[in-house]
Each structure stands twice: as structure tokens, then as C-alpha cells.
Amino acid sequence: MSQVIKKRTYLFYFVIILSVFPFILAIESGCCEKTMAGSWCINGPASCDSSYGVSPNSCQDAVFCKTGYCYDSNEGICSSGATEKSCKEEGGEWSSDKDLELCQQGCCYFGDNTLFVTESRCNIISERRGLNFRFDNSVQRSECKILSNNSGACLFDGACKFQTEIDCSADEGEFHIGVFCSDLRFNLSLNSRDHSGCFNGDIYWYDSKGNRESIEQDCSDSEICRFSEGKYICADTKCWDEKNNKYRQNGESWCRYDTYVGDSLDPIGSEHCRLYCDNGEVKLDECGSYRSYICSEKIENGISSAKMRKNLAADCLNIEGKEGCSLNPDCRLQNTCVDTYFCFDVCVPKYPIGFDISSQNSINNGRDVCGLASLTCYVAYDKDSFLRGDDDCVENCDCETSEFRKKMTKLCNSMGDCGVYVNYASVQTETSQSQYYLSVADYCNSLDVCNGCENFTEPDKSIFTFMQDYEEEDREEWCKESKDFCDKNGQCFNGKFFLHAYDLEDLDKPNIIGENTPAWIFKKSLSLPYPDSLFKFGNFDLTNFGRPSGDYDEDIRRRTFTCSPSKPPFGGDDCEKCNNDPLIPCDDYRCRSLGKSCEILDETRNTEKPICFNIFKNDSSSPAITFKSISGGNRFTSSVNGVQIKDSSGNCIEKYKKINFEIQTNERAICRWGLSSQGEYESLPELMISDQVYDLEHRIENLSLSSDERLRIFIKCADPNGNFNINDFIVDICISPQPDISETIIDSFVPSSSSYIKKDSSNISFEAYLNEPSECRYDIIPGTSFEAMPNKMACNKLQLDAVERTCSSLLENLMPGENKIYIKCNDTSGNINSDDWQYIIFVTEQALAIDSIKPENGTSINRPLSTDNPLFLEVKTSGGAFSGNSECRFEFENESGWRDNFPEPDSTSHSYSFTSNIPSRDYFFRIMCTDKAGNTAEGVSWFTFEFDSDPPKIIRIFKNSGFLTFTTDEEAICYYGLKDCNFNAAEGNKITVDFSLAHKIKWDASKTYFIKCKNRWDNINSGCSAVIRPSLK
């Protein structure tokens, strides 16, 4: 019994707690209208206050985060950028109307004071000060200034203050104009001219209680009062700009660049900063971290003024045409021309954005972006000449020369902090054999990229001119008008400035496409390694890029340049350089660019002066390497310098098998490997795979055992301080010396066999990955002998240094449905496949279709939306490559810009729910579906949503079978009270159990019923719906 009571007591308390404290809703993504901490419109992960809105979308798309103007009628103050609830909750009036008259500001004159406020604020302030006011909304903020300053001694409560008459009257004091508090007649025992001080830029005397007295020294217009070396002086307001070796006027602003800017050559770690002269002192306004903001400057009458603006470099990678590139002031066309078929222009950032090398995100750390400049040049050799013992190159021969690396390095550098380059302290980044080409001296001599160079390109001023010429209000107005030109993120100012820059640019359109270069190379070249990357360059021809056209009688060799993020120099000797500039505070980006072991000292991170320091200052030992594991059941045994590897039976491993292995270091390190012993760490050509830049575990994957008898892998690992093992760690793999009698194995195809491609496609390029160097051919008829096969594939059979063996070709004249070819390969030992390898491609026969969209066109929805009863957007698809299975998304054409993917990634039926009420209006939306073969389908629909804000009405009252009966004009729940209409529905007596049109209650002539009704929208009568007194009859 007592246990039951206990349980009930707990339950009671639980209910009480739930009702008192709002329920916390923890979200991982989406948007909280308000968090438990009281912040408004915060994206997940966050703890939402469940009494407020929570959206599955980001705050930017949530209706409840729409901002407007908030007016405080008690104070006459207006603020913008507030959400409706955040405003109303604090007692403000909210409006989305930008031109809200109550928010118009002007100059308020009251007494001797002026304020730039709203008219109602002017009224309120003046009233509180007991003064008349004048309000003039034609006066700008800059002109609304204090007109006079008639000060004097103000006596009150036995004390004195030197202030204006108006302020004195507010203190209810006795005012003596022009008299100081130390005046003997006041008998306050104050020492006159006790000390000096600054006021309004001049030096004044002050009495012993700190009241201002007469002027001690009137500083000239070009001077200002300042405390220096123990006394107040009139100091020059001009500033000495040490870097540019000149004086700057007070208020002048200018750009401060660390070193070279523009031409895609901004060194790693460099940032653009804006400085200004503030009363004789040069001060930093801001720096654009990672060069995400850049500084532009203009000079008029010898005075500079500078602005920081968003770097539009990200758009360069999305531009698909030469004109678009020329139109963006932060992009430039870069020509990379090595040979006839490897010659192209690409649109690259003029001021590349820096990367966060510590980030795990491959977009932020630059791996994806740098990878766009990893390209392969196909070099064609005369096959017969090779057989003759010569090695005659036929096409793209310069790709075999140093020119290839030199030009590709330049392209790589242009993408951002990519490839071998220099940091802002003019120190070269880590080098490697595969990337190294230019030395610091090369850069300094040929490009003037190092400190002290004057010849650089400043960011485009046309944008700056625009910003300067328009006042705040005009900007907002223009922004509104030019909404169509807003950028992809909806940031109006980007689009607007961007557009304006088009008009001002003197367009110089270079001829980007060479005669022999296919036109599409320009826009497609950069997407090579990332067909599905963020940048969405679309599908592209993988095999034909940079390849000579015609048949493939030649031997094709691939020369690949790998572009990866730049790595800081070893060690941390330069870390201190980041702390040396008194004006520019160090940040993570600048610090890390100076050395691998440079980091910001944690305790100084959020301070005015973050400190960059060498985290491995005393480390001089190299990483110790141990062998960890090997794949395929193979075994390893320790040797003098590393390990020996054999198969599980202790025999040598079969030739052309692929293996993976992993090593471990005793400290975080980067490891490189090569097939021959090298003295220096940087000389080893290949990087081992690790999860982080500096890691403890390092892997080599898919290593093809293509050598005879023995394959030796030489490994060196370097710690962040640059210490590396002098003696190579050697992985010695024993390979079976038996003669090669095995046929070629095709490991995989790209696109994979049995793939579907888009409807109406007539050709596709494909590539076969082989286990050994071979020559491959194909036919559409099965069983054809290798010699009789008519179609030769382009193979890298003779490329000795190739990591992967491939053959590729273009399949043409494809038919709808199945397309099958049969492939045979001939390896270097003359082993020809006895059986065909099949490769199948399906061309989609039926178009992808959207069968239905709900809500259907013109549907009217007039019910409340909730989690239990949401509005469903529903789409059904059919056809396409996979019987309608596809991925769909929607876009609404209303102000909120709702757009999202349907949750089902691969389905014929898609559903998305709207769980909270949306504003009353018509909603037009677009559905877009795509299947895995790339087939697309689109559809549109619209519906009307009507929000009911009226409470239900009682339309008929009568007596029926002893009951007082009444009906409402809509389904409702009704309540009654017996005293008056001032009762909460929750406290009243419920007449109707569920929503209904008809309601009845016992006919009782002794009572008066005060009735309120609530509809499904929770609209309830503020007073009564009806007051009913049943009669005795």
C-alpha cells in the first residue's frame, strides 16, 4: 500500500516538475527557435526549449527565424534583425516592414543636446528631461552633433559638478555658468588646477575632485591631447606608417599585406589586413583569416581609404566558361600549356583562400581543392620504335620533360595553399620529389613573391568604389531590388557587388581554347579526380582528357601530377615570427604556416595577443618504426633494417599479387617510401597513407608485386620537428621467381560493369584496371581471338613507373538496353586470356518520370499542422534505370526558400512532412528527382494554406430533450463557467469531449452559463461565445 502511495507521490512530483520546467529537446541538427540557454535561432546540436519552434531545416530556412524590425514603444527604440518571438517576448512590437515609420531615425534636438534617434524616442527623452524638443529626419547621423557646450559649476547636496546647464537641471542642482567648482565663494575646499587631463582633444586643468576647469593647452587641428612619459601633451594626430615609410592622416585607412598578393600567388599564412590611423596611433581594424576576406584600397588626393570585403575566390571553381571567369574580379584565367594535347586554361582564384591543415574535413583542409589540379598527361610513343629498341615519342612529348612539373606546380599553387610553395615568412614548404620543382630562389627571382617585393596586384577597387559610394539605406534598398543577383548563399551584398564589378571591369578576354583542344576541356578539366565532388562539374570524359585523338596504335604512357595541400616547413624555429608584429595578432593559420611544430599556446588563444610557440622545441630524436601487419595471411620476420615478407607457408609471394601493410611509429610522424634508398626524407617519392597529417599508423595499400624475385620498400618517417630516421626502414618482399604463366586479370572497371547510364547516351569512356602490364582489345562478338579483335584499347603497358596498370577506350554507338563487349588481354610474357572478360553497360530505355505529386495543384489546406497531423509532400516516381528508384528534392518558390532532400535516398515513393503551421498563402514548389544513372525528372505543384485566426461562433441555441443544445459554425470544444466570462478554458467545465459542431448541457434554470469555445487552431473567445440563462419553461 505504502509503495503505491510512494509511486503516486513520485508521479505527482514528476508531473509538477514537467509542468514547471519546460521540456528539453536535444537536437543533433536542425534549428531551435530558442535554446534552454535563452539564445535565439541556434542550429543543432543544441538543447531546444520545447515551448518554442524546432525545425528540421537550418535556422536560415526556418520560418520562425525570419527577422524583422522590433520596436520598443516604451522607449521609442527600434532594432532590426530580430525574430518575431524574441521581440515580442521582451515586450517589443515586431514588423517585417522595412519602412516601418516608427523606426525612421532623425536628429533630435533638446536643450543643448542632440541625439540620432526615432521621433518617439526624442519625445520620450525630452519629456524625461523636462525639455522641449525638435525632430528633423532630414538630418544625417554625421550632421547630428552637439551644437554648444555651455558648462559651469552645478551645486547640489553640498557637492559640485562641472557640467552643462541641462545636465545640472536634471540633477536638480544650482547652475553657475562659466564658474568652476573650485571657486572660493562655494567654500568647498577644492584645489584649483590640481592636475591636467584630456578633454575633447585638448589639455585641461582639473580640480582636486576631478572637475574640469580652464583649458591648459589648446591643441591644434592636427594635434590631440595624449598622456605620454608622465605628462599630458599635444601630440600629432598623424601616424607613421613604418611599412610604407610614410605619414598617414588621422582617420586614413590602408591595406596591409604580409607580402605578395594577387596573381594566385599569395603565400601560405599571409592575410590581408586593414589598418587605420587613430589620433597618432596606427591601429589594426581587422585581418581576413585564411584570406576569406581581402583588402582593397583606393587613394584620393593622397589619402588612402581601405575596405575589407569577402573573397569571391570560391566562385572561380564553379565557373564553367571563360567569360564568367573574366567577370569575377577575384578570378583569373591561368594557362597551362605543356604540349599540343595538354594545353588548357582554367579559372583559378586570384587571391586563393587558405586552408586549415588541422581540419579533418577534406574541403577545409584543401585535399579536395588541391586534388582538382592532379592531372594526367597521356604521352604517345611509337610502339614499333620501342620494339626496335628505340623509344620514339609521338605526341605530348613535353609531358616527359621538367616543363610538365614546372607548369603543373604553378597550376597547383594557384588553387590555394597547394603544392610546394613558400610561407609568408618566405620559407619554402616541405618538398617531395613528385612535386618539387621551383626553389625559393625561383619564386623570388621570377615572381617577386618574397618580402619586400613591390610589384603585386591589389584586389579589385571597383567593388570598393561601389561600397564607398552608397549610404547604408541605399545599400539595403539596392540589395532588396537586386535580390535576383544575390549569391548562392542568399547574401545579397555579394551578388550585388559582384554584379557591379561586371560593369566596371575592363574585360580582357583571352583566347582560352587552342585550335586542337576540345572545347569542353576548359570547363571539365579540373573535375577529373572528383566526378561527384562538391563542385559539381558534372560528368566528364575521364580517358580522353589530354589524349591525342585517332586510333591507338601508339603506346600510351600516363604522366600524372599529384597536387596536394602544402605542408609547413619542418620544425618550429620560425614560430616566434608570428608573435613579432605588434599590430597583427597571430592566429592559427599564420602560426601553423611557419612550421610543423608551431601551434598557438592554448591559454593565449582567446586573448589580444595569442602566442605561437614550438611544441617540440627540445625534440631531436627521430621516430622509431615497427612493422605492424600485412594482408592476405602473409608473414613478416624481423631483419637488420626492417622486415622480410613471405607468404603463409614461408615461400615467396606470387608475382602480381597485391598486398597491404601497415607500420607504426612511436611518435606522430609523416612517412614516405620509395623503391630505392635515398639519403633525405624529402627525396622519397611516395607518401604513406595515414588518417591524420601526423599519425602513429601508416599504410601502403594495393601494392602490386610486379618486380621479379624481390621488391624492396624503403621507408623514412619524419616528426613535426623534422627528425627522420637516417637508416631506411626496409620492407623486403620476396616474390616468386617462377616464370609468369598466369593470364591477365581485370580487377575492376570504371564505370563498373553492369552499370546503367542515362537514356539516349550513345557513347561512354571506360577504363579497365589490370593486375599486370598488358595490351587489351575487345569485340562485340564473344570468343573472338585476341589477334582478330578489331578494337584496341589504350594501355600503359610500357610505362615502367606506373603505379596502376590500365587500359581504356571509348565505347560508341551504344543502343538502348544492354550493350556487351568481350575483352582479351596479352601480358608482357605473351599470356593471352583464354576466356573473354565481359563488360556490360545498360543504356536506360525508359525516361525517369514523376507519376504524382501531393498536394496536387490547387489543393487547399485549412487544418492546423502538427507532428501528429503534418502536411505531407509526396512524390511517386517510375521508369528510369532502376524502375523509378531515385532521389528527390523540393524547392519552394516563396520567401522562406524551403528546399531540402526527401529522406528516402533511393525509392519510388518519397514523403516529407511539415510539422508546424506555415503562413497563409499560396505555395508553389518544384520537385526534382535523379536516379543513379543520372536520369532526371522534374515536376511542379502548388497548394494554398489558410491559417484560421478567428474563434468559433455559436450560431444556434435551443432546448432539446431536456438539454440546452447549441451549434457552432465550425468544429469546436466548448467550456462553461458559472460566474462570468473571465475564466481560462482549462479551468472551465468541458461541455464537449472532442471537436464537434453540436454541443449540449443539462437544462438548469437556476444557472447562467458563460460559454467559451475553442477550435482546432486553438483559437478561443477572449470573452464569451454566449451567455445563456435557461428559463423555467
Partner: protein, 254 residues
């Protein structure tokens, strides 16, 4: 009286004296807020002024350094101060949402809430002071209200004091005034926030050109936050607040 008795009496007085000093010190240590206040029968506001003004100045300084809040909940730490975000977006590329649209009202309520217990204590002590001087005193206590006005912060007690001895006197407008630019700072902060919410940035030198006594510093943090520090060049009073708007990440990410 014998010499020994005299000695004992002196010792007793010394002990009592030490005890009295110890008790006073004990109370002063235990209740540091208890201060000796100047009292003039005709001027109760002056008593309140001396009783609470230091605390008012401290509260004003505290809210000024913390973005307008006594205990910020959504803040960034900078130079050891917890600085509240007045405008915030956690996303990259997105403009911020204003967190305190009625900033002035918010600051006023923060100051009033912080000082309310102290104000009650001051009124109680004021009544005791009058009663100790033979007055009959009664206080009708209202809700403490802080008000930001140009160049000053006013603490209105909204309480009425009635004292009577030979005649009676009513004091209805009990208030304490602190000269401070918090009103001006709040309105500049609102203006900066307006720019932050629209463009993700505010031009600081413009404000300094308009108001020569004002220094506006902008401290950009690498994760996208901006700390604004407004300083009155004459008084060195400061107001700090934070914003995160249209933050841009490293690289070309989304």
C-alpha cells in the same frame, strides 16, 4: 579598592575592548556590503547614493564588459571576460540573428535585478537611521528600476519614504544617478548589430568619425566571431559585445 582588584578591572576592560573590536571586525568581514553611509535627515537620496553607488558602478561595469548581461549564457571568452553574443549564427555564410533586440531594456532589467537585494537593504538601513534619530519612519517599497539615459544611469527606487518627528515629510522620488555612457554604448551596439545582421560586418571607423570621443575596436576571431570593444576616450569606460555573422571557413567549404 585593592591594587589587585584594580588590575583585574583594567584587564576586564581590555578584554571587553578587544572583544568589541573583534565583533565589529567580524561583522565587517562577514557582511562587507555593510558600509558606513553619510546621513542627512533632509536628504535620504544622498544616504542611498552612498549606500549603493559603488555597487551600481560595479554592476554597470560588469554588464558593460559582458555584452549587457550580468551572467551571460551564450558567450565567447576573450581576455578572460565572458562576452555575450548579441547577434549569432552558428552556420557559415549565414547572417546572424539578433539575440537581444531590446538591448536597453535588457541591460536595465539586468542591473535592477542584480541590485534589488542591496537596494532593499539600503532602504531598511535608511529607516533604521531615521528611527535611531527619534523619527517615525515608514517605507512603502516598490520595484527597483534601472534606467539608461544619455550620459547617465539612474536607479529609481520607486519607493516612498515617510518620516515624522515634529512635522512629517514624504520622499517619493528616491533615486541614485551614476554618470556613465552606457546609454550611448547600447545605442552604438544596436547600430553595429544592425550591420552585422545585414552584412556580417560593421564599419568601425565610421562611428569614430561621427563620435570623436568614441573608440571602436573590432577583434576578429579565427572561428568567425567578432568582439567589439567600445571605449569612451575621456573616461576609458568600455562596453564589449560579440557577434558571429557570415562567418567564412578555411578553404572553399560549405
Amino acid at each position: 579598592m585593592r591594587k589587585e582588584e584594580k588590575k583585574a578591572q583594567v584587564t576586564l576592560f581590555i578584554i571587553l575592548g578587544v572583544l568589541a573590536v573583534a565583533i565589529v571586525l567580524f561583522f565587517l568581514l562577514l557582511f562587507p556590503k555593510i558600509k558606513t553611509s553619510q546621513f542627512q535627515e533632509q536628504n535620504p537620496s544622498q544616504y542611498l547614493d552612498s549606500c549603493i553607488k559603488t555597487d551600481l558602478a560595479e554592476a554597470v561595469e560588469k554588464v558593460s564588459l559582458q555584452g549587457g548581461s550580468i551572467s551571460p549564457e551564450h558567450y565567447i571568452i576573450y581576455n578572460g571576460d565572458n562576452i555575450e553574443y548579441l547577434c549569432y549564427s552558428s552556420e557559415y555564410y549565414k547572417p546572424c540573428n539578433v539575440q537581444r533586440p531590446l538591448l536597453k531594456a535588457h541591460i536595465e532589467s539586468e542591473i535592477a535585478e542584480e541590485l534589488s537585494p542591496l537596494a532593499d537593504e539600503c532602504l531598511r538601513k535608511l529607516k533604521i537611521e531615521y528611527e535611531g534619530r527619534g523619527f517615525q519612519a515608514s517605507i512603502k517599497q516598490g520595484e527597483l528600476q534601472a534606467e539608461l539615459l544619455p550620459k547617465r544611469v539612474v536607479l529609481n527606487f520607486n519607493s516612498s519614504l515617510s518620516v515624522s518627528k515634529e512635522g512629517s515629510q514624504n520622499y517619493d522620488s528616491l533615486s541614485v544617478v551614476l554618470n556613465n555612457n552606457l546609454y550611448e554604448f547600447a545605442s552604438i551596439a544596436l547600430s553595429i548589430i544592425k550591420w552585422e545582421a545585414a552584412y556580417g560586418d560593421a564599419e568601425t571607423t565610421t562611428y569614430m568619425n561621427y563620435y570623436h570621443d568614441l573608440k571602436v575596436e573590432k577583434k576578429k576571431q579565427i572561428e568567425g566571431s567578432t568582439i567589439y570593444i567600445l571605449t569612451d576616450r575621456n573616461t576609458e569606460n568600455k562596453f564589449q559585445f560579440a557577434s558571429r555573422s557570415i562567418a567564412l571557413p578555411a578553404g572553399y567549404g560549405v
